[in-house]
Amino acid sequence: MSRYRMVAAAIIPILVLSACNSSASPSPSSAAPQASTPAATTQASAPAASASTVAASPGTKFKGISVNILTFNGPQVAEPLQRRAPDWEQLTGGHVNVVAVGFQTIYDKALLDASTGTNSFDAYVFDPQWMGDFTGPGYLLDLTDRVTNDPQLNWQDIGPFFRDFNATYNGKVYTIPLDGDFHMVYYRKDLLEKDGVKPPATWDDYLAVAQKYNGQDLNGDGQPDYGSCIAKKKGAQSYWWIISIAAGLLQGKGTNDGAFFDTSNMNPLFGPNEAITKALETYAKTKDFGPPDELNMDVGGSRGLFTTGRCALTMDWGDIGTLTPSTYAQDKTGATITPGWTQVLDRASGKLVACDATTCPNAVNGVNYAPFASFGGWSGAINAKAPKENQDAVYDFLSYMSSPAISGIDVTLGKTGYNPYRTSHFDNIQPWLDAGLSQPAAENYLGAIKSSLTNANMVLDLRIPLTKRYEQDVLDTAVSQYLAGELDAAGTEQAIADGWNAITEEVGKDKQLAAYVASLGVQR
């Protein structure tokens, strides 16, 4: 029939054209179409992998090279990258293109980009917790040699936890830390000091302090305020708080002990046991001392409440310290290490046992602290399949951003979203004063961070493949159902355990166990 022949005749040239096109595009080694164009006329000096020094001809070292970095459109996190890109360009001639997307989609975009061979990004400034999904398929460049020989970066200055656990996977370095993320508890120093109340050391103390101040007018505006503000919105960041509360009960023997699974058999520690029951009940109890819509509040809301003086206690990352200048809470804020517990979980029996020298070797005054490095801290990782010149250029930029001088200023500014992670950040107090903190406030804030960072029982966030599913899907849903009353504690624990086991089975229990053990640096 002529009609079909007409159709066939029309389609063939299109096929031919697309065949030509498709053989050109998705080969991973070629430069991706609309992205970085590694100019042929690069005047990059000897592209030696290690020993990339700033001293090489300034202004022309990476001339003509344009790199794409995928990150979060905060404006925090992207802000310092965007602000400092022109400075770096001045120094080296390389151009940085910051592609900022919404938080929910960085993971998808990066993984899609790498797995489909599109490779339009040369680097990702993202959550190092996701390394498990990226290093397995080999999407990230091994940076071990570069970082150890880089004077600009000053690798040893970075806090040991971030160096050894956060940036490393399976013994190799894959990320450059730009930010140090872990939880702390903030309190109204003026109120607690006036009443002679000590900052909470355990979660029971926390509840007691919250109860004491709940309902009182804390900021002089005539309205009753709240004892504790902890954001609990579903689908936001809330699932990290429950881990912070439970961590002290779950991990006692140091970071290698892990707080998510049993390192011998991959049993979820978030499951039917006394520790999780206690953690859930405590978490729910904080609701009683908080604002009525706390269940739908995300961290911006709880932060806003604290800085306007309406909360006695709150839990947050390091941001509150730098957000208080020019607010009601300025010079009234104290920070302390996340409260711990005087009991710990016996993994074999599922019951809580008292804290002593064997069960909690890191306890301070009988309290087992386990500061949770939730999220890990925004870090830069380099695409293994990006062109070599681009890799060198973007490495230099990330190293520049992380260098003590530059990062020392950025971590003092609330608008960057970057929190301290280097020893030098604590030793030099001047930038903090410049940022608007008073001397005692800065010392208190840095002191709390330091005591968290130097605690040997710091908890590493989950970094095995599919970590997002364990936390954002199963844990978040189950906990928010618990808070909403849809599930009771036993049901919640079972839901988490079942969900986690299903994911583990999907990937393969042995594989996940090996990945988990490797991520903790456990020697077997």
Binding site: S115, Q481, E486
Partner: protein
């Protein structure tokens, strides 16, 4: 629906002196005579093929790919992506397995009201079916289809009742989406029609109202979501003084599942009423005034005139706009996601939102499975709606 010729395949009967049936036959006759310029020539294909081809090309591959995805599991490894086909495991998980309480809900024994509803539905279906069987005008295949349809209806009501009217039952994403869609459509249509009816009267400032009422539709849905998040914030939002004045300072709607659903429905209605409003307004404005005037002279009241003249006249438009809103409404995601993240718990989690949560954690298989179940559900609803409406429109003609 559309009052064009071939859309209403009528069986021959005595001519009825009004409306679309008459016109349909007249145009069919006219079509036969003026066939020459319309049925041959390249125009016939040129006009329709670009649209059909574009949609075909862009829909076939995603359709097939998503079916493949829903039947498999993705794994990332060195050098690319693996799709492992695992059969219906994703669907099984949603309907019977781990995710059942999120998808269907928690189903428990119905309470007395629930039983009453189920039995009433059963009775109605039985009566309708026997009436059709005895009437003799329906073919056997038609009877069989009606039987299946009736069973489906009773089965769905049974599931609904187990989730909503039972002790300890809880609706899952499927039922929550149904609530959103049907409540939304009823509200949007009632409001849209009401506003349009008011605006065809010769009230002052008509032009201003027409433009203003269109504005909610122009805002991107994500933006509307955030706007409502701001508006409904009972501590910082503009409604805070009212909330406090009502003595509700310590109470919030975010913790109550039904209030949360209501908030989503209100937001959705605010956003989509303009769509219904604009279309109905155009329809009403083009109505022949003489018929209404004659009716009034004859002594018909306003309500009668509305019910017997206006309403039938705008019935085709109504059916089109409701079908479009039906199909779009099932995809609701931005409002529940931004307002509550699907919470409290899973109270406002719609189907597309659940698929989105899976998609976000790159669980593409389960996400595609949810999308496909949604596709099946909406196709069934749309088909039932279209056939139901077709019959009613021809009955009225």
């Amino acid at each position: 629906m559309a009052s064009s010729d071939s859309s209403l395949e009528l069986e021959p009967r005595e001519p009825v002196p009004s409306g679309s049936a008459f016109r349909a036959r007249a145009t069919r006759r006219a079509a036969q005579t003026a066939d020459a310029w319309r049925s041959d020539g390249a125009a016939r294909w040129l006009f329709i093929w670009p649209a059909v081809l574009l949609i075909l090309v862009l829909s076939i591959f995603p359709l097939v790919a998503s079916v493949a995805l829903s039947l498999g599991r993705l794994a990332f490894h060195q050098g690319g992506v693996d799709l492992k086909i695992i059969g219906f495991a994703n669907y099984q998980q949603l309907l019977f397995g781990l995710e059942r309480s999120h998808f269907l809900g928690v189903l428990k024994a119905p309470n007395p009201i629930g039983w009453a509803v189920v039995l009433a539905t059963l009775a109605l279906c039985a009566v309708a079916w026997t009436r059709a069987a005895r009437g003799g005008r329906v073919r056997p295949i038609g009877l069989l289809l009606r039987l299946v349809g009736g069973l489906l209806l009773v089965g769905s009501v049974w599931v609904l009742v187990q989730a909503l009217a039972s002790d300890g039952g809880r609706p899952g994403a499927l039922i929550v989406t149904l609530i959103f869609v049907f409540a939304g459509i009823v509200l949007q249509y009632a409001l849209g029609l009401g506003l349009a009816m008011l605006l065809v009267q010769q009230v002052p400032w008509r032009r201003f109202f027409r433009i203003v009422f269109l504005i909610p539709l122009t805002i991107t849905p994500v933006g509307v979501g955030y706007m409502f998040l701001m508006m409904t914030d009972t501590s910082k939002g503009p409604l805070e003084p009212i909330w406090v004045a009502l003595g509700l300072r310590d109470f919030t709607w975010v913790t109550d599942p039904w209030l949360a659903r209501l908030a989503v429905i209100i937001g959705d209605t605010w956003q989509w009423t303009p769509f219904v409003f604009i279309v109905l307004l155009a329809a009403l404005e083009s109505l022949d005034q003489e018929v209404r005037e004659a009716a009034l002279v004859d002594g018909a009241g306003r309500w009668q005139s509305f019910r017997h003249i206006t309403l039938p006249a705008i019935l085709p438009v109504t059916t089109t706009i409701i079908l479009i809103r039906l199909i779009e409404g099932f995809k609701i995601i931005d409002m529940p996601n931004i307002l509550l993240g699907g919470g409290p718990g899973t109270a406002t989690q719609s189907l597309t939102l659940q698929a989105y949560i899976d998609w976000n954690t790159l669980n593409l298989g389960r996400s595609a499975a949810i999308a496909y179940l949604l596709l099946i559900l909406v196709s069934v609803v749309a088909t039932v709606y279209v056939s139901f409406v077709r019959r009613r429109v021809t009955d009225l003609a």
